[in-house]
Every structure is written in C-alpha cells, then in structure tokens.
C-alpha cells in the first residue's frame, strides 16, 4: 500500500507529523500492514560511523569541504590527514573522490569526517543511486553485491550515501553499471538475486 503526504497514519514515527494527536505522513511511504512504514526513495541523512564516498568541492586553509550527497556539507580537517606544512591542494583538490567516515555531527549539522582510506578514488567510475535503495543492492549478508563482484571480477566500494565506486576492466564496469541500473528499476521484485545471476 502506498501512502502519500497528508494521509493518516496509525502510529507516530519518524515519517509522520501530528495535528491534534493525529498522525499524518510527510513522505510517499510504503506499508504492508499499516503499522510499519518504509520510505521508498529519498535523500541521505548522515549518521555517525557511516562510511561515505565524498567529493572535494572546496579547499580551505584548515581542510577540505566535501559534498557527501546529502542536504549538508562535510568537512575534513587538515590535521587528520597530514601534519607537515605543505600545500594541501597537492593532497586532495577540486573534484577528487575520497573514502571517508563520519566522526561527529554538531547540532547545527556541521559534519566532521575522517579518512578511511588515503587513496583517491579516481581510477574508476563513480555512480550515484538512491541511498534508500542501497540495502537492496547489497542484499542479504551482501550476497547480491558479492555476486556481481565475483562474476564480473571488478572492485566495488559502496558509500552509505548512495555513491558507488567501480574499478577494474572497462567492459566489465559497463556491464556492472547496467546490472545496477536494472536492480534499481526492479528493486521491489522478489527473487532478484537469482534473476541477476541468470543475466550475468
């Protein structure tokens, strides 16, 4: 069952707003039993401990400003990366993708990040998918994504913010890209893992 903004909900949850002790939906939601509600698409809200792929959008005197594909910007401090006094444009500059971890979120939504891996993610393909649909791509015990990795012999790094980094053979990356697109389009169907197995 699909619920639209303004539809009445049975209980209070993070997707509801209330008027006079009655609860209404804020988003387009999916529910099977009218008790548990799920979002079906949306944007990424940062959480502490999440590993995200970020893009450098500004180089400041004390660090880097990062786009983490969410409503808020992330910040990576210079002292977390290098202690020496060198030009930090040479470390990371505009347009670089890096793997980072969220360490701190302040009350006014300043997001501090720390490096997870020093290497830049510049030798592959970055694609963005809907962060809400990411669990479907990973599958149970990461079965789906492991299958794609093994069958096509490529590396996939997933960020919780819906960015994926694919690296490996060029032709296989294109194949994997099409498979991921297929999964995103059919994310609601059952037995998807077996179907993908056949396609590859």
């Amino acid at each position: 069952m699909i619920l639209l903004p303004g539809d009445k909900l049975n209980n209070k949850n993070i997707y509801s707003y209330d008027i006079n002790d009655e609860f209404f939906s804020k988003y387009i939601l999916l529910s099977n039993d009218n008790i548990k509600y799920n979002k079906i698409f949306g944007y990424y809200i940062p959480k502490i401990g999440d590993v995200v792929i970020s893009k450098v959008i500004d180089v400041l005197s004390n660090g880097w400003l990062l786009d983490i594909n969410s409503p808020y910007l992330g910040f990576l401090q210079l002292k977390n990366v290098v202690q020496k006094d060198i030009d930090h444009n040479k470390i990371y500059t505009y347009g670089d993708y890096i793997l980072t971890e969220i360490t701190k979120i302040t009350k006014n939504m300043m997001i501090n990040l720390n490096l997870k891996n020093r290497k830049k993610l510049n030798n592959g393909l970055i694609i963005s998918i809907d962060p809400i649909k990411l669990p479907r791509l990973i599958g149970k015990n990461s079965s789906m994504i492991n299958m794609i990795k093994e069958k096509l012999n490529i590396k996939i790094i997933t960020g919780k913010n819906g960015r994926l980094y694919l690296s490996g053979d060029y032709a296989n990356i294109i194949k994997a890209y099409n498979v991921i697109k297929f999964i995103m389009k059919n994310s609601y169907k059952k037995g998807l893992t077996e179907k993908i197995n056949e396609i590859i």
């Binding site: 699909i2 639209l4 903004p5 988003y27 387009i28 079906i40 006014n108």
Partner: protein, 249 residues
Amino acid sequence: MSRFDGRKEDELRNIYIELNPIENAKGSAIFAFGETRVLAAVYGPRGSKMSKDYDRAFLRVKYNMITFSVPERKKPTPGRREIEVSEVIKRAIEPALLLEELPGSIIDVYIEVLNANAGTRTASINAVSLALSLAGIPMRDLVSSVAVGKVGQKILVDLNKDEEDYNSEKLKDIEEKRKFIEFYGEGRATDIPIAYLPYKNEISLIQLDGEINNNELKDAINLGIKSCKNIKNLMKDKILEYFSDTNIR
C-alpha cells in the same frame, strides 16, 4: 449555449499529468490544463556554504516561459512578470513544506512553461507540488491550485485565454463570436487564481485582477476550493498509479 470551448460552468479543462519525465532530477512532473502545459523539476536538498545560522531549508523557485510558449516570441530574459510569479508560487507552496527539518540546505525548483493558454501559475503550483513529493521533500500535503473568475456575469472555473481576455464591447464586432455574449453577459473578465491547502482547509494564494462584488467572490472561492479538491484527488490517483506499475508495488 456553453463556453467558448464547450465546457460547463464548473468543468475543468482536460488534465494531463506525467510523473518523473526528467531522470536526472530528484523529482519532476508535467502538469497540463488543456493547452497550458508546465514542467517542474526539483533538485536537492543539497548542502550549501551559507551560514549555518539558518533554521530552515532555503527554497529557490525559478519560473520561466519558453520563448515559443506564447503566440508571439517571448524574450528569454526573466522580466518583471517572471520574478513576480516565481515569488507567488514560492509563497503558495512554502506553508505545505516542513523546511525546518533540513536547516541550512538548498532546494532548487525550476519551472518551464512549455505552452501557455492562461492559468500558468496555477498549473505550475500543481506541477511543483507533485515534483516535490516525488523528490522526497518532507511536506504536509499536496497543494492544488486552480483559477476561478467572473466572465461577463458568470462565475466560472479554469478560464482559458479567450475568457481571460473577454470583453463584450469588442466581441460585438466579431461575427462568429457575437453569440457568446448571450451566454456570458455584458462586461469584462475577472481572474482569481487560488491555491488550496487541504490539511488546514486554508487558502495559500489568492490574487484578483478585475472587478467583482463580495457575494460573487464568496461563490467563486467556494467553486475554486471544490475544484482544488478534485484536482488533488486526481494527482493522488496518478501517483498511486505510477507506483503500482512502474517502480514499487
């Protein structure tokens, strides 16, 4: 005898809705009242470098008419009218959004009028509210909007361009349109766009261009609210249909 295009007094023009025509936008929609066709696209919410002092998201609305959307080519530069309509649409939509949940972020809304035949701002509001809901922006309700008006002596809903420009004095000189004076009556046209918030039973936009008396205005507004409710139900059905067969069951 009926209106210029054969409609009844409380009959809307044909409504056409298309959801997510733009793949790269977070949410988008085409909404059409007859020949008036509007495309709206929503990008974001995205982070911004502005002061973290803001306690709510920043909504930016840009309304634009495509050069070939009107009979005579329109200059593509945004003029006084475009800036005004952008602001009007923004204020009509804002009360329905929960912008305080996304402090300091930016939501961009782009509106392109593909074809204009009166009622572009009302069609825009409908398209924007569909696009925002498809972008996953927290909102209290779908906003719906329609124009009502007094043409000659009649209270009508969803005026088209002929009715908006109605003038019985001028019509007397045109042979094939003279018979319509019988139906509409003497006088000129008054155009009243209305946007309606169903959850609070409130009106978030009302503009008036022309002359109308108190009682007629009340009738017009009631007719407008009734039509807005119908439009909202139509939009709702369209979204449910979209998710039933394409994306999610």
